[in-house]
Symmetry: C2
Amino acid sequence: LSLFYQPDIEPHYLSEEESRHAIKVLRLQRGDAIRITDGKGNFYDARITETGKHHCHFEILKTEKHPARDFQIHIAIAPTKNADRIEWFVEKAVEIGVEKISFLLCQNSERKSINLERIEKIAVGAMKQSQQAWLPQLTEMKKFDEVAHELADQKFIAVVDATNPIHLKQLATPAQKYLVLIGPEGDFRMDEIETALQNGFNKVSLGANRLRTETAGLAACHILNLIQ
Amino acid sequence: LSLFYQPDIEPHYLSEEESRHAIKVLRLQRGDAIRITDGKGNFYDARITETGKHHCHFEILKTEKHPARDFQIHIAIAPTKNADRIEWFVEKAVEIGVEKISFLLCQNSERKSINLERIEKIAVGAMKQSQQAWLPQLTEMKKFDEVAHELADQKFIAVVDATNPIHLKQLATPAQKYLVLIGPEGDFRMDEIETALQNGFNKVSLGANRLRTETAGLAACHILNLIQ
C-alpha cells in the first residue's frame, strides 16, 4: 500500500504533488485504498473519493496514532562541500531514526548555505520509504555559537584528535534528549571546541577510523538508536 | 600527508594512476615525503626519489605493520537497481570497517551484474580517506545458494517480517567471523530464507524501521563494529 504525506489532514485532499503521484504514476482511482501520514505521529487508512488532473480527495477510514519515541536525537552537522553527501546523510539518518537535523555554519565550513526545500523533500521521501509516522524537524543553517547554546540532556561534540576521547556509546545513556555536533571537512576550530566544552558538551569519538562528515553524522545517529 | 595505495610495494614505484595523482594533482616532487599503504596491513613512510610524466619512484623510510582486527565482518548484499546506492554502501562500509563484501544474486534481484572495477576504486578511495591499512576483499556476483554455503562463526540473514526476529546486536557476540546476508529491494524469497536457515543462518532484525537495501547493509556493518 502506498504511503502519502499530507501534513495538514483536515481538508481531506492530497497536495498537488502527492495527487499527481497517486493519479499519474500509481494510476489510483476513486475507491482505491491509500495510507497517509501527517508526519506528526498519525497514519490514516483512507479511500479515494474523487480525483481530477491535479487533485485527489479522500475519506479517512481509520486513524492510527504513534507516540513519539522516548528519546530524541538531534544531529547538528556542517553541510559538506558536495551537496550530495549531506543529502545522503539526511536520507539515511531519517531511515535509521532521528528527531531533528540542524545545519551548522562553522569557521571551516566550505558550504555556507543549503537548499532546505530539496532536503525536506528527501526527508519526506525517506520517512515514507521507511514507513514512519514522524517527519524529523529540519532547520535552516545556524551559526555554530547559536547551536552550542541549545539545550539537551546530553550534548556531544564529535572530534578527531590525538587525546582519544571516549566513544559516544560509552557516554550516552538511554532515553535522553541528545544533541551531537558534527564538524565540517576541515574539522572544528579549537575555539569552537572550547565554546562547546564551556556549554556542557562532551568530546566523543565515533570509532577507530577517520570518518567523512556525513558518515560521522550517520554513525552518531545510529549509535544513539542502538543504545536504547 | 597524502596516503597512496600500492598493493605491490616491492618495485618501489607508484602505479600510473597514483603517480599522476601525486605529480599532476598534488604537485609532489623529488624529496617529498609520502605515505603508502599496501592494503595488506602495512603503512610505509616513504620519500619520492624520482618523478616523470607517468611514474613516481620512492624509497621506504619506515614500515608500520597493523594486525588484522580480531573479528571479521563479511556482508553479502544484493546490489541495488540504482548503482549509486550500492557504491555508496561500499564507500561507507569501508569507512566504518568491513573485511569482505560479496554481491548476491537473488531470485528477486533487479540488478544482475556489477562494475567490480569501479567498486574497487571506490573501496580504495574510502580506505585511503579513512586512513586504513587493510583493503577489504570484494568479490564478483555470486548466486545466493553459493553464499549460503560459505563458512563463518556467526551467520545472519536480515529479514523484514511480522515474526519480529531478534535484533542483530543481541545475537552477535564479540570477536567472531560474521557473515550477514542483505536482500534485494524485493526482499528474499521464502525458499532462500529456508536455505539460509538450513545452513545455520539466524534471522535478525536491524532495527524498528524498514530500511533500504544499502542502509540495511551499512546498519549491519555498524552494529557488528559496535558490539566489539
